[in-house]
């Protein structure tokens, strides 16, 4: 049996498709004149679960580590620490060798042009991965044509074209078709619509929603556009400087953000109403340098409600929701932890 069809669900619906524990990635700094030996702490202790069939979005400012998380999950870079389980199996173990795992996880990047080989026709680009995995040429080409259909590009018109003959939106559809060619279970989308015009963005977002249904996919969706995230995500992970600030169901996070950083980020959205323009920016300053993150809560240097406890020790994610809709809503903020010593934290009930 060739490994070119979507593998069976092994762990059952309750088993998260992805579990990452204690994930960390430090990029060592090049030794300069002063022999630094420091490192960019791009991801620094991240736990995360992606449930089967859901869309988990990661948001956060530039440089907070979103793409590093996706590259770690894709096995493109080795982690400094931590492990990843896929459908209950440890990635890289005998039960799930890296090669088998990598077929089940595919990625679509922002730059639609750089991800395609300019010398391959569209048809060849899409048929190539399954052929590498042993599918015959005829079947692979047939599959490529089906996928072109699925992404809304008539095979008769597009199969023989080359990347430079396509618009940005069309190229991004090709990238999506190619990611689907190995029948993956998880697709990591790293800013998939950021380079596209609004009218094309709408087409690609609709397409991604349709394909998810049609192919039974799970998405990890990275975007800096909070409106797009609100539109597509089931759950949202908010990252700040390599760590999780908040995670939870999208509606709960957008309606009642728990972390002051999430509140600032959400308030930074454009108002879409010229009569309700903001007067002051919700967040000021830039994120600190990830080489020397501030002690305690990483957000304390920009936080409007920071108190001494916030620079003393680092808060961990803790449940904050109390309604059924907020199940699984967690934030890492001392102001939300009873007894933490933060004046806004409700007193601990005995």
């Amino acid at each position: 049996m060739l490994h070119i069809d979507q593998p069976e669900d092994r762990g059952g619906p309750a088993q998260p498709l992805v579990i990452a524990r204690g994930l960390a990635k430090y990029f060592p700094l090049k030794r300069g004149l002063f022999g630094s030996g420091g490192a960019v702490k791009a991801v620094d202790g991240l736990d995360l679960e992606i449930k089967k069939g859901e869309t988990l979005a990661i948001v956060g400012e530039s440089g907070c580590g979103k793409s590093t998380v996706s590259r770690l999950l894709m096995g493109l870079i080795p982690p400094t620490a931590g492990e990843v389980l896929f459908d209950g199996e440890l990635v890289g173990s005998a039960a799930l060798p890296a090669k088998e795992y990598l077929r089940q996880v595919q990625m679509v990047f922002q730059d639609s042009y750089a991800s395609l080989n300019p010398r391959l026709s569209i048809e060849e680009s899409i048929a190539f991965p399954p052929m590498v995995h042993g599918l015959g040429r005829t079947e692979a080409v047939e599959r490529a044509h089906d996928l072109l259909d699925a992404v809304g590009l008539a095979p008769g018109l597009f199969a023989g074209r080359y990347p430079h003959e396509l618009s940005g939106g069309q190229r991004q559809r090709i990238n999506i078709a190619r990611a689907l060619a190995l029948r993956p279970r998880l697709i990591i989308l790293d800013e998939p619509v950021s380079a596209l015009d609004k009218s094309v963005e709408a087409q690609v977002l609709n397409l991604l929603m349709d394909l998810k249904e049609q192919f039974g996919l799970t998405y990890l969706f990275i975007s800096h556009d909070l409106n797009v995230v609100h539109h597509v995500a089931d759950r949202v992970l908010v990252m700040y400087l390599g760590r999780a600030a908040e995670i939870g169901p999208v509606e709960s996070i957008f309606a009642a953000p728990g972390h002051p950083y999430t509140r600032g980020l959400l308030a930074s959205r454009l108002s879409m109403d010229p009569t309700k323009r903001r007067k002051t920016p919700p967040l000021t300053g830039d994120p600190p340098n990830p080489v020397n993150p501030p002690p305690g809560c990483r957000f304390n240097t920009r936080c409007p409600i920071a108190e001494p406890v916030c620079s003393n020790s680092q808060p961990n994610l803790a449940a904050i929701g109390h309604t059924i809709h907020a199940l699984g809503h967690e934030a890492a903020c001392w102001a939300l932890v009873p007894g933490s010593g933060h004046s806004l934290a409700t007193r601990k009930v005995a």
Partner: protein, 331 residues
């Protein structure tokens, strides 16, 4: 001519020797203190229009025609020297990528000082003092120390501020902005938009701001011009246009924009793709994609129609009854 008119454009056209018709008859006025946003998708001609205002399109490959005046001075026929006199003291530009405007080998302070000295006959010390004031104006923290910083030592947001400072160094009356916040995070984007709006009002400048994001226009514009295939297909006050666009393309763009409340719904899309600018259709360039199109749309380029005072769209389905608004109010 009213003397607060900063820009007058009539049937402005820009064609490239490659055969691309990038700007195909643009008319507009810009007055002092006014902010016009040009909203359009990739390739619609926004940047070429903006560059035409400073005559920065490659001179040997560009054919410019029509009327274009900056502060009453003709731009189409002006000599290179006359243009140099305009650039800086009258008009300057900021870009999406600050590194295109910043020189990596000189400090921020040096770059601002040199720009001032090129145009004004003042001492280096005075110029440096102005540079410091400019960095404070654009709200760069520890401005004094940042005068001696090199561009690569600044974060993306600070670099953008430094570029704005350089653009303001000769106190222009007109600031052109080509998607200056497109590459930035939401949190930094809103900071820069608020800063630009604040400075524009404080200095009483006119501003033309190019963007593909309606939300951005909503934060800074007084008026919006929607551009498609090198033409302004609709123009009007920002609130009216965002609440109720007139032109089918503007309506489509609004519907396709992901917004609060679109969750769980399919987004409306615009079928097809923009026309080939080397070979434009005869009539309305949007007609081939327009659900409301009919034969007449392709026969002639629709005139600008004015259903209510102060608003206009190039679509034959838009009423042309400047009186209609008053009548409706009266009834």
């Amino acid at each position: 001519m009213r003397d607060d008119l900063l820009v007058l454009a009539r049937d402005l056209r820009v064609k490239f020797t490659t055969g691309v018709n990038a700007v195909n008859g643009v008319d507009f006025d810009l007055r002092q203190r006014e902010v016009l946003c040009i909203l359009g998708e990739s390739g619609s001609g926004k940047s070429v229009t903006l560059r035409a205002l400073m005559r920065l399109n490659p001179p040997t490959k560009t054919i410019m025609s029509g009327t274009l005046e900056l502060g009453g001075r003709d731009v189409v026929q002006a000599s290179e020297n006359e243009m140099s006199d305009l650039r800086g003291p009258f008009v300057s530009m900021i870009f999406q990528e600050p590194m295109t405007a910043l020189d990596p080998v000189f400090t921020i302070g040096r770059q601002i000082t040199e720009t001032i000295l090129r145009h004004e006959n003042i001492s280096r010390r005075k110029a440096r003092r102005r540079a410091l004031e400019l960095l404070e104006l654009v709200q760069i923290p520890s401005a004094k120390r940042r005068l001696d910083a090199y561009p690569h030592e600044l974060s993306g947001g600070l670099r953008q501020r430094a570029m704005i400072a350089i653009a303001l160094s000769c106190r222009p009356k007109l600031l052109l902005a080509d998607e200056p916040t497109t590459a930035l995070d939401a949190s930094v984007q809103i900071q820069i938009l608020l800063l630009l709006r604040e400075i524009q009002q404080e200095l009483g400048m006119g501003m033309i701001f190019v963007t593909h994001d309606l939300g951005v226009a909503g934060e800074v514009a007084d008026r919006i011009a929607v551009m498609y295939a090198g033409r302004f297909i609709e123009e009007g006050p920002v609130a009216d246009l965002m609440r109720q666009p007139l032109h089918p393309y503007a309506k489509g763009l609004l519907g396709a924009t992901v917004h609060e409340g679109s969750r769980g719904k399919r987004l409306t899309t615009i079928p097809g793709a923009p026309p080939d600018l080397r070979d434009l259709p005869g009539g309305c360039a949007f007609a081939p994609r327009c659900t409301e199109a009919e034969g007449a749309c392709l026969a002639h380029l629709p005139e600008l129609r004015t259903p209510v005072p102060d608003r206009a769209a190039r679509c034959i389905h838009v009423d042309d009854r400047p009186a209609a608004f008053g009548e409706r109010l009266a009834s």
